[in-house]
Symmetry: C2
Subunit: 235 residues, 2 copies
């Protein structure tokens, strides 16, 4: 499996040149200028590597500085020094999960051309990512969406921003495919993005709740079949 990129540096857009919204906004992180800072950033990375796994299983609300310190067998004050508050820990964990999603699902598709080829590559990469059990508790963003949707605040807003960005990537590639004549002109970009997203979310649900991975292959085939079906008639 690919190396997972764990970091919580300011968000890069998921697709260069595509419409996207700013993500988790946070002050720019200082570059480490001495050994102590470098060690601090390494610790932060190590803690986040653990916190994304914990949160994928127990939820972002279940993620507390105390629980994380206990899991890592370090003193609570060490974790507190790195994040300062539960909210900052949650936001940093979400940013790490987003970085993993970008690395696993978007980066592999960047070698395919914008439009239909990239849409197909994203679908395959998403299914590969779901099948690989990258997160202990299944797709982090799917779980965080369901958990946070009824809890107003900065964390919910940050989850929604990542998901809007994801839908915008799908929509932008659908629009590019229509413009290039790879998909029919009467395709409704938002409706198709909705349908494609639904397939992966349901595959994650079936894998996680029912311990049944067959949904991943249903999703892979349906993603491809839907795109094939919407190609212009050959004349």
């Amino acid at each position: 499996m690919r190396k997972r990129a764990i970091d919580d540096t300011p968000a890069k857009p998921l697709m260069t040149g595509s419409p996207h919204e700013p993500l988790v906004t946070r002050p720019p992180q200082p570059k480490p200028s001495d050994g102590r800072r470098a060690r601090g950033m390494r610790s932060r990375t190590a803690v986040l590597e653990r916190s994304v796994q914990m949160a994928s299983r127990d939820g972002l609300e279940g993620l507390t500085i105390g629980a994380l310190a206990a899991d890592l067998k370090v003193h609570k004050s060490s974790v507190h020094a790195l994040f300062g508050s539960k909210r900052e820990l949650q936001l940093a964990t979400l940013a790490s999960a987003r970085a993993i999603l970008v690395d696993q699902v978007i980066v592999p598709a960047l070698s395919s051309d914008v439009g239909l080829p990239r849409l197909q590559a994203i679908g395959d990469a998403w299914c590969d990512y779901l099948a690989a059990d990258v997160f202990a508790g299944g797709c982090f963003l799917c779980a965080a969406s369901a958990e946070m949707d009824g809890r107003p605040g900065a964390v919910r807003d940050a989850v929604a921003a990542v998901m809007r960005e994801w839908i915008a990537v799908l929509t932008a590639n659908i629009e590019a495919a229509i413009a290039a004549g790879e998909l029919r002109a009467d395709v409704h970009p938002a409706a198709l993005a909705f349908q494609l997203n639904a397939l992966g979310m349901a595959a994650n649900w079936q894998r996680q709740l029912l311990n049944d991975p067959s949904g991943i292959e249903h999703a892979r085939r349906a993603w491809r079949a839907e795109l094939d079906r919407l190609k212009p008639d050959e004349r």
Copy 2:
């Protein structure tokens, strides 16, 4: 909007005569034989009416006897007397949510014939149910699925049983439609049930997290279009 059936009596199958699994198994509830028992059952119904709403928003794990008593402005011991434990409260709340789902999504479809007509009716009823915001926090079972999938135990098993039953209803009607020649013989029942379920789950997600109800109409149209597309060619 229809009156909501709130009860936690032993589960009825979602579709008469269809394959289904036993749901939340619990000892049969005694019929009230005197005034005190009748009042107890009315209290239980009133408490469950509140607990399904709380749990749809805050999750089944967030549902505690203390929180529910505080919300209802009654003493904790009154709620404890009705349920005995948090686990029993969670199971009874889930059974109530299932009864609401049956009442809102399955019952309206029972007047349509088994097979393709009933599948179409279930799709419409599900979208109506999502649009009506029956639960404060969106589709109870969608939220409970994501919340409980990483928490082994009786509650998780009960959530999975309800969802298996739901998928079995879709699958049984797809099989009936194929047998009646209403859908093509090469339709894969499990794959189509997966795709139809995915539409409603994603509509709920978009409505709840992004405050965007447009997914419900995308789901309604895609559900119908998918079934239309899979009808045998007219010859």
